[in-house]
Assembly symmetry: C2
Homo-oligomer: 227 residues x 2
DNA sequence: TAGATTGTTAATCGATTAACAATC
DNA sequence: TAGATTGTTAATCGATTAACAATC
C-alpha cells in the first residue's frame, strides 16, 4: 500500500496563512461588483506563484474553477469563509484590559473573521463594570463560570509578562483550549492546548534585520510572504 | 565544483523567527544570574527540537559552545543581539496615530529590540504638536524632510485601510526601504522595498481554525511554532 | 477553433530530524 | 574515565515550483 500524500483533511500550514489574503482581496472584488476571479489574478495582486494559488483554492473550494473564467466570486468567498470559520462566530475572552487589550476589544475587524471577543477580564477593580466597544469588563473571579457557561474555548492574554503564566494556568483550568499570547514569555500548557505567540517588537526587529541583510548582500529577497 | 549548501551569509528564514525566543529566554536567565545555557535547556523550555536549536546557535554564535556546559550566557546574548541588530538602534517613523499607532509609539519594548520609533505623523491637525511616549506627532508635510535628514529607512503604516497605499507611496518617495503594514491591503511597492504585513484579526482566526480542525480530527498538532 | 485557465503529477527546493563522531 | 554536550553529515519530510494534459 503506497503512502497517501496530501491527505484531504490536513491542509498545508502555509495555505492557512494565505487564505486570509485571498479572502481580503476577493472581498474587495465582490464589493466592486466583480463576478469572477482567476488564480492568475489573485497571484499577481498578492505576489504569489499562480500554481500555489490554484492548489490552495482547489483545497478549499467546493466547486471546480471554470477554465477560461476562473472562480465565481460569491461562491469562493463563501467557501473560504466557511473553511476558515469566518461565517460562524467563535467566541473568545480576553484577560488584561491595558492598551493592547483595549485595541482588541474595540477592533471591529474581528467580527469579519468570525470572532467575537465577548468580555474582557481585569484584576483592577476600577476597570470592572465599565464597557469598551460594547464589551463588559469583569473581575477575574467571574472568569471560570462565564467560560464554562458559554463553552468558550479561546483565550487572549494581554497582561504584563510576569502575570502571563498565572493567567494562562487559570484559563487552562477553566477549559480554554487555544491561547493567543501577547506576553513575551513561553507559556507552559498541557499537550492539548494550542498557543499562538504574538510579539510585535520582534516582528519589526526581524523586518529591520532583513533590511540590514539586504543592504549588506544585494539580492532579490523582497516581499515577506510567510506571515 | 559542487554546490555549497547553507552559505554562511544566508540564514534560514525560520531561524530568524526563533532567535527572538532564544533571546528572550536567555535574557531572563542572565537576569537570574545563570552563567551557562545548553541547547537542550533552550529546546526544552521553548518546545523545540534540540538539534534545531544547536544549528541555530551555531549560525549566530561567535564562539563554539562548550561540550558538557553549553554556551556562556553573556556571550550568547550578545551574539544574538548583534546578529539581530538589537544592540544598535534602528530608527523608524510611524504614520497614523490611531489606537494602534499609539500603542506602538508608547511601547517601550521596541527599544530592547534595537528599534526606535522616532516620530509619528498624522494628517489630523489636532494631533500634531502633541507628544506620546516622548515622541512628537508631526503633520504629514514634514515627513519627507525628516526621513531624508535622518536617513530613516523603516516606516510603519497604521492608517485606515483605504489610506494605506497612499501613505505607502509617500514613504517610498521619501526613500523608505522597509514597511511594516497594519492595514489589511496588499501594498504595491517597487522591487527593492520590503513589506511585512501584520493582521491581528486573521492571526486569531487562524488559531481558531486550528482549534476547530483539532477538535474534528484529534492529533498531536500542538504548539504553533512558526510565528 | 484557439487560448486562457484549470487541476494534477513529478521535480526541486529548503527546513527539520536522525545518526554519529568529536570534545571537554 | 564516563557522560553530557557539541557540531556535522545524511535522511526525511513538507512545501513550492515546473511541466503538462484536460476543459470550456
Amino acid at each position: 500500500m503506497s503512502r497517501q500524500n496530501t491527505p484531504s483533511l490536513v491542509v498545508m500550514k502555509s495555505t492557512l496563512s494565505r487564505l486570509p489574503l485571498y479572502y481580503g482581496y476577493i472581498d474587495r472584488l465582490q464589493a466592486a461588483g466583480v463576478e469572477a476571479v482567476s488564480s492568475a489574478m489573485l497571484a499577481q495582486h498578492l505576489n504569489l506563484n499562480p500554481v500555489l494559488v490554484r492548489k490552495d483554492l482547489a483545497q478549499v473550494s467546493s466547486v471546480a474553477g471554470h477554465p477560461r473564467t476562473g472562480f465565481e466570486v460569491n461562491q469562493l468567498l463563501d467557501d473560504i469563509g466557511n473553511y476558515m470559520g469566518y461565517n460562524k462566530m467563535d467566541e473568545a475572552i480576553l484577560v488584561g484590559v491595558g492598551s493592547m487589550g483595549r485595541i482588541l476589544l474595540t477592533n471591529s475587524k474581528f467580527e469579519k473573521f468570525g470572532l467575537n471577543i465577548v468580555v474582557g477580564f481585569d484584576k483592577d477593580p476600577y476597570l470592572c463594570g465599565i464597557q469598551l466597544g460594547g464589551k463588559h469588563i469583569l473581575p477575574m473571579e467571574k472568569m471560570e463560570s462565564l467560560v464554562q457557561r458559554m463553552g468558550i474555548r479561546i483565550g487572549i492574554i494581554t497582561v504584563p509578562d510576569d502575570q502571563a503564566q498565572e493567567v494562562c494556568d487559570q484559563m487552562v483550568r477553566c477549559g480554554i483550549k487555544a491561547i493567543w499570547n501577547f506576553a513575551f514569555v513561553p507559556l507552559k500548557v498541557p499537550e492539548d492546548v494550542l498557543v499562538k505567540n504574538e510579539n510585535l517588537p520582534s516582528s519589526l526587529a526581524v523586518l529591520a534585520h532583513k533590511l540590514a541583510m539586504k543592504s549588506a548582500v544585494p539580492s532579490k529577497i523582497n516581499e515577506i510572504t510567510e506571515n
